[in-house]
Amino acid sequence: MLMMPFINLQLGDRIVTLMAALVLVLQIAMVSQRWIVIHIRIFAAQSLFLAMIAATIAWFNHAPHLYVAAALTLVVKVILVPILFERLVKRMEIHEEIEPIVNVPLSVVIAGGLTLVGYVVAASFYRPDEPGLGHNALAVAISLFLIGFFTMINRRKALTQVLALLSLENGLFLAAISLTYGMPLIVELGVFFDVLVAAMVLGILVYRIRETFESVDVSRLRRLRG
């Protein structure tokens, strides 16, 4: 009986590691993607896995307040934001991304390199004596952060930049879960509310850019200099 919690932790850890790896694969897939609708769906899938990771940790590590975080992620990032953006895309009738600044194969390799950097940074946080999660999820979280940042610089369509920003926040959420089992509930609520409102605001901005510039290519936003 004494062994049971230990084995459970092991299983939970493995499941979380597996899902974290899937999240990482999805982030790399986002780097290589061209179609904006697929971007949105990959983001939704990634957030779904994050919600499942939160729920798994809540179950195995006895942290019930993470259920709330998982539910919030599900509602906000898996359902509301993707629906919002897909409607926006349909209205604006943009479908494909143009060639990014660094071409796709090279950016995928750079994304791989950034993952390594994420691992190195996470390794400095890893304390084997502490019970709880291993550093895998944290490494994936930091990688998500870095790859999202890189994608924001690399891409030119406004909506893709917004999605990259949101995937960056996904990385932060995962870091929060794996480091400290989430932050106090009120803070989580505040953060989710902000994410939702930010998505709406940015969506409106993208729409207006499209209307004014007839395109969402942000490399055309060059009039203000000096």
């Binding site: 493995r14 499941i15 590691t17 597996l18 974290a20 790896a21 899937l22 990482l24 694969v25 790399i28 897939a29 290589s32 796709v104 194969p105 090279l106 995928v108 390799v109 994304a111 791989g112 993952t115 390594l116 691992y119 390794a123 895998n136 490494a139």
Partner: protein, 317 residues
């Protein structure tokens, strides 16, 4: 002859037979499934056998400008692929033939075949052949590193590049495939499988349009028995790669030896797993469209990154 050598000989013969017979069947099943999914009736499952028999009986037309490479290639390709096939564990965990280097030898043997095929494409003197050769070489230049990285990941996990050891190590641990390194390696190898066997979205095996064909362009000038050998070799290569993928990651059903009732069980599991993988390939082919040629490096870059992540994560996880 010692007992050992007798066993070995029998094992080799059995695997040889299995390779020769099973390969066209796999091709036939994939075509039939694809036809069904596209609501056609399609050719029967045994059609590749009939095609081979027909081709072996036909006469050959050989270009005047061709050199000895043209004649040698079908034999080289056929035998190198067979040799590679003998080295992988199909039914039993122990591969019948164990050449120096294990899985590296398999990769290089397949590479040897591809090299000769590309040369023969150039050798025939037609522009289609050269076109096919250059495209094939571009793709393989990107796919091979990815494959190597993924294979090395698996080899590190097993502590050796010998395929027997790799399969043996995989049998012991059931949850091992949950480890991210294995997952990444599997994903990378799956992508490479698509590139190497010339499936959609990398290459269309049914097309003969100049814009789209890669593999077909290289063998365009072949006819008769030479063509039969090449087609057979292609199916065997497909079988070899599929079996490699399956047995390195899901070695359920691999038997310790070839003998006894276990052998039939092993064959049964192999067929089941091949069927499952064929369904997956057919699904992938039907859902996707063929990628434009200069988009293929993007797909292979993803495979490469996944492979390197797999390799690195064996150290980090």
């Amino acid at each position: 002859m010692t007992e050992r050598m007798m066993t070995r000989l029998i094992e080799n013969a059995a695997q040889l037979f299995l390779l020769l017979v099973l390969a066209p069947l796999v091709t036939g099943v994939i075509r039939a499934l694809k036809a069904r999914l596209q609501t056609r009736r399609g050719p029967g499952i045994l059609q590749p056998y009939r095609d081979l028999r027909k081709l072996f009986r036909k006469g050959m037309v050989i270009p005047e400008t061709a050199s000895w490479i043209f004649a040698a290639t079908p034999w080289v390709v056929f035998f190198s692929t067979l040799l590679a096939g003998l080295m992988i564990p199909m039914v039993a965990a122990e591969a019948p033939l164990g050449l120096f280097g294990g899985v590296l030898a398999v990769i290089y043997l397949l590479g040897l075949g591809r090299f000769f095929l590309a040369l023969s494409g150039l050798d025939s003197g037609s522009s289609f052949g050269g076109l096919g050769s250059s495209r094939e070489m571009t793709i393989s230049a990107l796919a091979e590193p990815a494959m190597m990285l993924a294979i090395f990941t698996v080899a590190i996990g097993a502590g050796s590049t010998g395929l027997t050891e790799i399969a043996g190590a995989a049998i012991g641990q059931n949850w091992r495939f949950l480890a991210p390194a294995q997952m990444f390696a599997f994903a990378a190898l799956a992508l490479v499988l698509i590139a190497e066997t010339g499936r959609i979205p990398v290459d269309n095996p049914d097309t003969h349009l100049e814009l789209t064909m890669i593999h077909e362009a290289m063998i365009l000038e072949y006819s008769g028995p030479y063509l039969a050998l090449l087609e057979w070799a292609v199916s065997i290569k497909q079988l070899v790669l599929m079996t490699l993928l399956i047995n390195c990651f899901w070695p359920i059903g691999l038997q310790p030896t070839w003998f006894g009732f276990g052998a039939l069980q092993g064959i049964g599991w192999l067929l089941a797993k091949l069927l499952f993988l064929s369904c997956a390939i057919v699904l992938l082919e039907t859902v996707n469209a063929k990628m434009r040629l200069f988009r293929v490096p993007e797909l292979l870059a993803v495979a490469f990154t996944l492979g390197s992540l797999a390799l690195v994560s064996t150290f980090l996880f």
